[in-house]
């Protein structure tokens, strides 16, 4: 609320009288409680009343030379800067008419001489109190009006006939009318549903808030209408929508391009892989074995290219939100067994040993078996690739973790391991340790990125721990029932 600490200061009283003795007498009575200013004639009184700091109350004699008290009072009341100062007539004129006249021209009180000091003091006190209350009201009203004025939105108050009875300057600005013009407008001429209409006929998008309030003027209802010009927001929204559409179109074009590219690359690859396989068979038959290693290289390169195309396609499908899950009940033990059989030749290649640890009472899992297999093949073939004469362990278990049934699949090896830096970018696209790794070990650098995305799609995740030259452990945790999360 308003701090009225000013009012706690000593009030200032201007005493006006043409007789010096009277000034001394009254001044003497009041000086212990108030600050006193004196004026010996009307003109001086008006001058003092106008100068800052202004007196809080004026004790005014009536019968004075030049201009009398009535005229002084009238002039004070006619002047905007002084009309708020309460005037008490202090006079020897005791006729009823005189008193009536004094009160009519704006004095708050009329005290006749000879004065009774206690009555004078208590009346002054009362009128100062009233003035103080009026000041507070005045300040509060100004404060509330300034709040309404400073609001960033247009505020209109309408009566029961929807005619504007109050508006702020923002309303003038938004609608292009001045305050007087707005005061005769029906709200429907300014706003219809979510469109505002300016004086020049142009329209703009608005957001409107309504609140019914009692109308202090007529005791009926009025409505406070808050109008927010959302032209700028709409513009930004449209821009965002257009940008989003553009991005989606570009993304679709990328997907289409990748799908077509994949098709176009696969067609010649079919010939490369097919002929090189056939030539290997024929070289064997016709006893031309010296060609076999080179044919194997052509075949291997063709297969590598095919894996790369498949991975890129997978990743772009995931990123376009087009990778689907095909959920079914999966027998974990059976699945692990199938993976074991297929991966075995690759494990043996570098003279590694595969250990499979599984609990015998594994539950079945409701998930996408193709994707889990793809994840396991990827992790196991990585382990086989980066480990020589070592041990690769695949372990499968299920347990409850924070109220959720979870299946944990982990692949450990005692191969070359990873540095912290390599781990930090391991699951990104094209994330093999460096180009020489690709040359030495093959692979596309996309496999783990795809694994992580698959895990996340099924509601799980993949983590890794590794020590350089000691080996790595990749751990996949999936919910027993897959939660389909579309990646974007």
């Amino acid at each position: 609320m308003i701090d009225k600490s000013d009012s706690l200061k000593k009030a200032t009283i201007l005493v006006v009288d043409d007789i010096a003795d009277n000034l001394t007498l009254v001044g003497g009575l009041l000086k212990t409680s108030y600050k006193i200013k004196v004026a010996s004639d009307g003109e001086k009184a008006i001058k003092i009343a106008q100068s800052i700091p202004q007196p809080d109350l004026i004790l005014l004699d009536i019968m004075m030379p030049d201009i009398d008290g009535y005229e002084v009072c009238q002039r004070l009341k006619a002047n905007q800067s002084t009309q708020h100062i309460p005037v008490i007539f202090l006079t020897a004129k005791s006729e009823i008419n005189d008193e009536t006249k004094g009160l009519e021209i704006g004095a708050v009180d009329y005290i006749t001489k000879p004065i009774s000091p206690p009555i004078l003091l208590s009346r002054i006190k009362t009128h100062l109190k009233v003035k103080q209350m009026q000041d507070i009201l005045h300040d509060q009203r100004a404060w509330f009006l300034s709040i309404i004025e400073s609001a960033p939105d247009a505020i209109l108050v309408t009566d029961e006939q929807n005619v504007v009875i109050l508006c702020n300057s923002q309303a003038e600005e938004i609608f292009g009318y001045n305050s007087n013009e707005l005061h005769s407008k029906n709200i429907n001429q300014l706003v219809l549903s979510d469109v505002g209409k300016r004086k020049d006929g142009s329209e703009f998008p608005v957001e409107v808030g309504l609140r019914k309030l009692p109308n202090l003027n007529d005791g009926g209802d009025c409505t406070c209408v808050l109008i927010h010009d959302i032209t700028e927001r709409k513009r930004v929204e449209n821009e965002i929508r257009a940008a989003k559409k553009l991005a989606e179109d570009a993304n679709q074009m990328k997907s289409d391009f990748l799908a077509n590219m994949s098709h176009e690359l696969r067609t010649p690859l079919n010939a490369i892989i097919g002929y090189s396989e056939m030539l290997q068979e024929e070289a064997e038959e016709f006893n031309q074995r010296q060609f076999i290693p080179d044919l194997q290289k052509i075949h291997g390169a063709g297969k590598h290219l095919l894996t790369l195309i498949n991975d890129i396609l997978d990743l772009s499908k995931i990123e376009a939100g087009k990778m689907e899950l095909f959920l079914e009940d999966v027998d974990l033990l059976k699945m692990v067994h199938e993976v074991e059989n297929i991966i075995f030749p690759m494990i043996e290649k570098n003279n590694n040993q595969l250990i499979v640890e599984r609990e015998t009472n594994l539950k079945s899992i409701y998930t996408d078996v193709i994707k889990i297999k793809q994840i396991l093949f990827n992790l196991l073939s990585n382990a086989a690739k980066f480990t020589h004469d070592g041990v690769i362990t695949l372990s499968v278990k299920d347990f409850i973790a924070s109220d959720k049934a979870v299946v944990q699949l982990s692949v450990s090896d005692n191969g070359i391991g990873l540095t912290q830096e390599q781990i930090s970018k391991l699951f990104g696209n094209f994330a093999q340790a460096d180009a020489s790794t690709t040359r030495k070990y093959g692979g596309t650098g996309l496999g783990l990125a795809i694994c992580r995305r698959f895990c996340q799609m099924m509601g799980g995740d993949i983590t890794v721990t590794s020590v350089i030259n000691e080996g790595s452990t990749f751990t996949v945790e999936l919910p027993l029932i897959a939660v389909h999360k579309l990646e974007r």
Partner: protein, 121 residues
Amino acid sequence: MVKVLLVDDDELNRDMLSRRLVRNNYTVVIAVNGEESIRMAETNQPDIILMDMNMPMMDGLEATRQIKNNPLTANIPILILSAHAMPSYAAKAIAGGGDDYDTKPIDLERLLGKIQALIKK
């Protein structure tokens, strides 16, 4: 011997696959487009048709539809081959009347398994 009608507009793929099928003791007759495949299916009465999906003029799906609509050829199993790897294409192939679907580049062992399974039906 099992008689295969191989339909493909790509000469290299046609040559490669037909030779590999012959090496695996299949008899192969060849059509180079969809329209030809419809005629040849009727006159040659193959045990199975390997149908490429993407061909100019008449694509593999349309040829499949017509072969399956002809009472003289309706019972011949059709395996649709495509270099498209999206699952949606497999679904399209099956919905279009194909009895099975496989992707190119072909995995010969897998393809022969599928051919045998379809013939036995």
